[in-house]
């Protein structure tokens, strides 16, 4: 060996790594640059699997819209669509399914990959030994989740438009709404997932949370069809807010006050999730 593998540990001046005492913009940039380093890890990983994920992102909405929207929809439409707001079942269903896709994508990202990182592969522990802090790892993963949400929902939007289910140019605004809906799920679930040592609670989460929400949050039929006593429960679920807002945008019947309500509710949930997740991440990684 002629050249040393590493520089001898000679004294050197400390690197200026302090994040304090700079302008707020520099501070913010420094904060997020660390999150982007964590994001890069997820992107490198995703490079190996992105093709397969795109196929399912296209196939899933096509199958649902074909079977339920067109197939079942023909039957529904024959019995009158007054209760759907006078639109075809396909046009009613598609934006709801889009919000549900956001939920499913968020769930998928916030559960097993998080547990794998902290428990099975321990890549989170590896990263925690570097300048990255638990909060940076959380943000990096949420950035990646946001990217996946936008990808899946954009593909959904294209498929749904191809099916003729988009009714208004406002439908484009469903993308940020789906992002918000997804984060309202991803952040709190991530806060929970990082505390787990086994994946058994995830199948419970799917069985008793995701599937009931998928079925009863107004995706497939209006909440008004539910018995009156249970409707308030449906209104509390984040998915209903996402579905209602996406549907209003897709049909071009947005009520600004209602929309503001939905956005506020979803944003509050996402923010609360992030705040709790910052704590649970720290607690798990800084033992």
């Amino acid at each position: 060996m002629s050249s040393p593998a590493v520089a001898p540990g000679a004294p050197r001046t400390p690197a200026p790594t302090s994040l304090a005492l700079r302008s707020p913009i520099q501070w913010l940039a420094a904060q997020w640059s660390l999150a982007f380093r964590a994001l890069r890890f997820w992107l490198t990983n995703y490079k190996r699997t992105w093709r397969g994920s795109i196929y399912s992102s296209v196939a899933s909405p096509a199958l649902y819209l074909g079977a339920m929207g067109l197939g079942l929809g023909t039957l529904v439409d024959q019995h009158g669509t007054a209760r759907l707001g006078g639109v075809s079942y396909l046009a009613f269903l598609a934006p709801g399914l889009m919000a549900a896709t956001a939920m499913q994508t968020a769930m998928g990202e916030a559960t097993y990959p998080v547990l794998a990182s902290v428990k099975w592969l321990k890549t989170y522990q590896a990263a925690a030994a570097t300048p990255l802090r638990p909060a940076d790892l959380l943000r990096g993963h949420l950035l990646f989740t946001a990217m996946r949400l936008l990808m899946n929902c954009a593909i959904f939007l294209v498929v749904m438009t191809a099916f003729g289910a988009s009714q208004s140019p406002w439908v484009l605004a469903t993308l940020p709404v789906c992002l918000l809906t997804g984060l309202a799920f991803a952040a709190p679930i991530e806060a929970f997932a990082i505390t787990r040592t086994k994946d058994s609670s995830f199948s419970m989460l799917y069985r008793f949370f995701l599937i009931p929400l998928f079925l009863f949050s107004g995706t497939f039929f209006p909440i008004s069809q539910l018995p009156e006593w249970i409707r308030p429960v449906a209104y509390l679920t984040p998915l209903w807010h996402g579905v209602a807002l996406c549907r209003a945008l897709s049909l071009g019947v947005v009520d600004p006050a209602g929309a503001l309500g939905h956005v506020t509710y979803l944003a509050a949930l996402a923010l609360a999730g992030v705040l709790v997740a910052q704590r649970t991440y720290r607690r798990r990684l800084y033992v």
């Binding site: 060996m1 050249s3 040393p4 593998a5 590493v6 520089a7 001898p8 540990g9 000679a10 004294p11 050197r12 400390p14 690197a15 790594t17 302090s18 994040l19 640059s33 380093r37 964590a38 890069r40 890890f41 490198t44 990983n45 190996r48 592969l121 321990k122 890549t123 522990q125 590896a126 990263a127 925690a128 030994a129 570097t130 300048p131 990255l132 802090r133 990684l285 800084y286 033992v287």
Partner: protein, 316 residues
């Protein structure tokens, strides 16, 4: 003023998990360029100490400063200048060897060309150049360990922390790792390692502390510790199982009373006699009229130091 060459200073360092005290008020100073070891059995508090030094485990009490900075308040800046080889491999087994180094280098904010340059040098150093493009999963345990070491050097750390660097490796792979660590030491990298292998500690450490039950039982260079806590030679005797205890008792008493053995240790399967001269002691044993099944005269090791200090054996 603290000594500029003291890279790590700990005093009354304590870590508790609920009721359990993992590290019980230890103190040590670590100097630039030395290889410092924490030797002790599993559960002695070595890994907890390492995690505190790695700034991923806030101390419950006490003071810990690393590179002149506070381990809790300035953990991020400290971590930027540390290299960490954890006890369990934390490589991303689904990525390639090179990608693992790239990702890790990015965590430290290094530029891509800097990472590429260091990657080729480091892979050369750990003899993994021909596996650079391969996935990590199928690599052997020894290769993964070497890759972990290469990864820990990507930021050119001033202190390299190694938690049980060769646990779980076969003898040949251990020797390769030791050889690489020895080279790093020669290059002036400060090494901090934990181990429960005395041969590892003897091979690599300039200075070490013996830990037991969260406390430091003794500290010094391997040679100092052996001189202070043991005799130059050890005579190991085994007797026939039915009369092992009786024979061992007889020999131990005889040699202790004549002053030939400074100390005796009765283990389940053998008798250890701590003596200045093993051959002379063996002659004395035979003079008692007892013939051992097997005997061994050897030099004292850290194992004997540990036995003396804690009354227990290091490896089980």
């Amino acid at each position: 003023m603290p000594d500029a060459d003291v890279l790590i200073h700990a005093s009354n360092l304590t870590k508790r998990f609920g009721e359990f005290t993992a590290v019980d008020g230890i103190a040590f100073d670590l100097h630039r360029g030395e290889a410092f070891g924490f030797l002790g059995p599993n559960g002695a508090g070595k890994s907890s100490t390492m995690r505190m030094i790695g700034c991923v485990s806030p101390p419950t009490a006490g003071e810990l400063s690393i590179l002149g900075m506070d381990s809790v308040r300035q953990g991020q800046a400290i971590r930027a200048r540390l290299g960490v080889v954890p006890q369990e491999d934390t490589l991303d087994v689904e990525l390639t060897v090179r990608e693992n180094l790239l990702i890790y280098g990015r965590y430290f904010g290094l530029r891509r060309d800097v990472i590429a340059d260091r990657t080729s040098r480091l892979l050369d150093f750990v003899q993994l150049t021909d596996r650079a493009g391969d996935q990590v999963e199928p690599l052997s345990g020894g290769m993964k360990r070497r890759l972990t070491i290469a990864r820990s050097l990507i930021n050119e750390p001033e202190i390299l922390l190694l938690d049980e660097p060769t646990t779980g490796l076969d003898p040949q792979a251990r020797h390769v790792v030791w050889d690489r660590l020895f080279r790093l030491k020669q290059q002036g990298v400060t090494l901090v390692l934990t181990t429960h292998y005395m041969d590892e500690a003897e091979q690599l450490c300039d200075r070490l502390v013996v830990m037991d039950g969260g406390r430091i039982a003794a500290g010094g260079s391997p040679r100092e510790l052996i001189e202070r806590y043991s005799t130059p030679e050890v005579l190991e005797l085994r007797f026939r199982p039915p009369d092992h205890d009786q024979a061992a008792e007889k020999v131990a008493t005889a040699l202790a009373t004549t002053g030939l053995a400074a100390r005796t240790e009765m283990l389940a399967d053998r008798l250890l006699l701590y003596v200045p001269d093993g051959d002379a002691a063996l002659a004395a044993v035979r003079a008692c009229g007892v013939e051992p099944v097997t005997f061994l005269v050897r030099r004292s090791s850290l194992e004997d130091v540990f036995l003396r200090l804690t009354g227990r054996r290091l490896e089980d």
